[in-house]
Amino acid sequence: MLTFQILANGLVLGGLYACIASGFSLVWGVLNVINILHGSFIVLGGYLAFYAHAELGVHPFLSILIAAPLFYAAGYALQGALINRMIAAPVLLTLSLTFGLDLMLQNGMLLAFTADFRKLILDPPLGVLALGPVVIPVDRLAAMLLALALTGLLYLLLSRSRIGRAVVAVRMDREAAALMGVSVKRINAVTFGLGAMMAGASGPLLATIYPISPLAGTVYLGKAFVICVLGGLGSVPGAMVGGIALGIVESFGALWFGPEHATTLSFLLLIVVLLVRPTGLLGRKGYE
């Protein structure tokens, strides 16, 4: 019975993780850029929800609608202005660039929001859902379902829309896409915008569950790494599978080894998977 409860916890976590990782994976897979900012974007989205809730009484789930376009625009602009200049540079330089930007953003958030932990408390609370012996808090369940819905939307966008298909085409073969008349530069910016959008939109969801602090992004970033390695790069289903796998591993890991070791465990998993399958569990011929 306990097993089912842990499994349910894992699935709920996994849905959220899929949402966190899908944008990160897209950027990595299409642009071959690791966006270290991704974790801080999530946190910033969380702050947006927190203040919209505290000051204006906006329900955090609704602030997704504010966060998504804002972050898309910010990501698009950032890519166009800075990151595009380094897109073909060695790994070390692109990684350092987003790392430097992330340090700036973290410092900015520290100044703007102080280091205090904020907790977004839903009012009224949504209670719990009992399915036989398995108990799930409704707010978590709702956040998870919304996260899956967002991830699904991204999937639809990539597979159905014209611009989404252009993104996929660039991921498959940059040169061929350029020859076919796709503006690769623009698609790069769109991709980064979409990645930022997914981060910003998952922020409010996570804020209803975890406390927010300026430096919390590192943890989310770490999880996004692990998920990409588990699920392979650049595909939404990969992020989905990787996210759910990580959620379940973490839940059982917390049970067996104690919750304080969940992150270590997932990092060990990451190293082991990389050693066995250097391009990720589901990865085909991957980007380096």
Binding site: L82, L92, G100, L103, G222, T264, I271, E288
Partner: protein, 304 residues
């Protein structure tokens, strides 16, 4: 060659004379500069010469610090503890290198980044040995005055820096250095020309770990007290990279120049704008990547 030796000796003479007649503030700064120099020169082996974007410096530093501290807790003398820290870091680097250096690009970068996090958690959990999150106190060496102590650690760090520098110097003039240059430019071609690439990369990784491990142990003794988030700080890895980028990767003096420049900037910001310290570091990195990706020495004809 001869000129290089002379430059090196002159530099050494200046560094030896530096502590005479300065106050403890400057001594602290000098010791930190040497420590940064060790970090940068060491990263240069794996990042600059072999071209692998390693973020493992923090792991070696923390491991060395804890190895030295734990050894002294068990009653070993300070110098033996420091040497032991070097051995532990080297062995760890060898094992890690065999495993991780098969990865390329981002995957290698991330795996190496994660190592420090894992080590930190392990040290955090091994409470009996390491004191866990409460940290570990180290014995304070018996000396006449605080200034003597500061001077002692300055010279200790200088010793580590000289070791690291000699290793860079020797490597650049050896088969190993030549092989690493081949690997950086085209690894599979190097392989097919007879370079034992795995062995060479692992050697570079060991060299990038051993002096950092010793420096970590010296640092631990210097500050008398360490805790996991302090010595396993990812910023050690990042700073090492920034300093090398600043000074020029793969060169002999570049990392040292980078260390001096970086520390000056850091100190300037620390003293005047402490609340935006990390943000300024970030800005420095961004500007560096965008405008000086080859380092400032690259502007000179005839790189050192």
């Amino acid at each position: 060659m001869k000129q290089g030796v002379l430059t090196g000796l002159a530099l050494l003479a200046i560094l030896c004379a530096l502590p005479l007649g300065v106050d403890s503030y400057w001594l602290r700064l000098g010791t930190t500069m040497l420590m940064y120099g060790v970090l940068a020169m060491s990263w240069n082996f794996i990042g600059g010469m072999a071209g692998y974007p390693s973020f493992a410096s923090a792991a070696f530093f923390g491991l060395g610090a804890y190895a030295g501290a734990v050894a002294q807790k068990f009653g070993l003398s300070m110098f033996i503890a420091w040497s032991l820290a070097g051995v532990v870091a080297a062995m760890f680097a060898a094992a890690l290198g065999f495993a991780l250096l098969r990865l390329r690009g981002h995957y290698f970068a991330i795996a190496s980044l994660v190592v420090a996090e894992v080590l930190r958690e392990i040290v955090n959990s091994a409470t009996d040995l390491t004191g866990g999150g409460k940290g570990l106190n180290l014995p304070v060496p018996q000396m006449a005055s605080i200034d003597d102590q500061a001077r002692f650690f300055y010279y200790a760090m200088l010793g580590v820096a000289v070791l690291a520098f000699s290793a860079v110097f020797a490597t650049q003039r050896s088969r190993l250095g030549f092989g690493l240059r081949c690997i950086r430019q085209n690894e599979s071609a190097a392989d097919m020309l007879g370079v034992n690439v795995t062995l060479y990369k692992v050697n570079a990784f060991i060299l990038s770990g051993v002096f950092v491990g010793i420096a970590g142990a010296v640092y631990a003794s210097w500050v008398h007290y360490i805790e996991p988030p302090d010595v396993f700080d990812v910023l050690y890895s990042v700073k090492a990279i920034v300093m090398v980028l600043l000074g020029g990767a793969g060169t002999l003096y570049g990392p040292l120049v980078g260390a001096v420049l970086f520390l000056s900037l850091e100190e300037l910001v620390w003293r005047n704008y402490i609340s935006v310290h990390t943000g300024m570091l970030g800005l420095l990195i961004v500007l560096l990547v965008l405008f000086l990706p080859k380092g400032i020495l690259a502007f000179r004809p005839g790189r050192a």
